[in-house]
Every structure is written in structure tokens, then in C-alpha cells.
Amino acid sequence: MIDVRLTGEALDLAEAAARLGDDPDTGAIATFLGLCRGETGRLSALELEHYPGMAEAEITRIAESAMSRWPVRGIVAIHRFGIVKVGEPIVFVAARSSHRDAAFDAVRYVMDFLKTEAPFWKREHLVDGTVGPWVDATDADERAKARWA
């Protein structure tokens, strides 16, 4: 089971977690929640631009790849677009599996590829009301992806 969704609204985490469904042979659920950081008071929000259609397709391809690598019974991925205020969720990824290693690996893999392959672009909105620069891609994220090669 793969469930990928984009939304312009605040994430409802209970609803997001419920999308994994019930399954008596799931022994492990790993989740990740990425939040908009304030960068020690500098930011008021992040604005997320995305490529409609390709964003869903690319995250789905990443989740399919994760399910082919590990014995995972389901993956849910939800990603925000638009204005995301400091403290609000940007992305939620969850995987359920019989055992914990597969669930942990699958969620981390999806996040590492999502960061560098899913077509989203962040720009900063500053606390003084101005719109700041586009966020630069980081080497750390490229290295994180490389560890799965």
C-alpha cells in the first residue's frame, strides 16, 4: 500500500497516521515529521513551490523503490505546498512493517530521496515581512542520498 498526497492545508497528523490502516501483522511503524524551523527567530514561514503532477509521481516512485528494497507493508507520504509557518509540518512519512529495521530504513530512504528528487523549492519569509531568498540545496542532503547507493 502506497498513499502519497500533497496539500495546501495544515497537516492533520492523526488523519495522516490513520492512512496507514490497521493490520494485525504490523509490528512496527516508523514515522518522520519535517517541520518549518524558525532559524533562531529569523523566519516567519517557508513558501513551498512545487511541480504539480510530477511531485506526486516522483514521491510515489521513491516509495515504490523503498517497498522493493525492504519488506514494508505500507508507506504514507504527505507533503505541504504554499506558505508553511514556523513550527508547522512540511512533510510526513510513515512506514509499517512486521519488524522495526525495515520500517526505519524505508522512512529514512524516502526522506533522503524526497529531499533531493521531489520537485519542491523553498523560499524564506522573514519575520520583518519581507520575502527572502530561495533556499540553496545542500551537500549534506546529496550525501544522505548517496549512502543508499
Partner: protein, 81 residues
Amino acid sequence: MKYFAWVRERIGRAEEEIELPADVGTAGELIVWLKGRGEEYAHALERDRFIRVALDQRHVRHDAPLSGAREVALFPPMTGG
């Protein structure tokens, strides 16, 4: 063509229809050709190798042939998640 993030801003539009010359065969050749269309394109695409290309909503390398693609998108490295 579709453009996103600062590529979109610098070019000044989010999408446009373009008729390609016959000698533009790959994604990389498309970028070079677009840079000759005007200052805004030259500025948006100046750092060639940082520009990402998607053909029909799939990432491709700059040496990928354009053949048959209906939708071509150019954008900066991604920063989602």
C-alpha cells in the same frame, strides 16, 4: 516548457510553448539554445550544470534525448521535505 522557482522568476514566466529547431537534440542542447533567446534566459540558465531537467515529469540527465517529450521542465536543484 515549464519553469520553476528562481528559473521561473528570472525568465519571467511559468510556462510557454516553444517550437524547437531540428538541431536541438538533447536536454543540454535545449538549455544552450534557450540561453541564446534573450538576457532573461541567459541569466536564468547561466549556471548550466545546476539546472535540472524533467521530460514528461521524469528527471533526466543533460545528455538525454528530447525525442517525443511533450512536457519539458527546467528548475533549480530541489529543496523540499
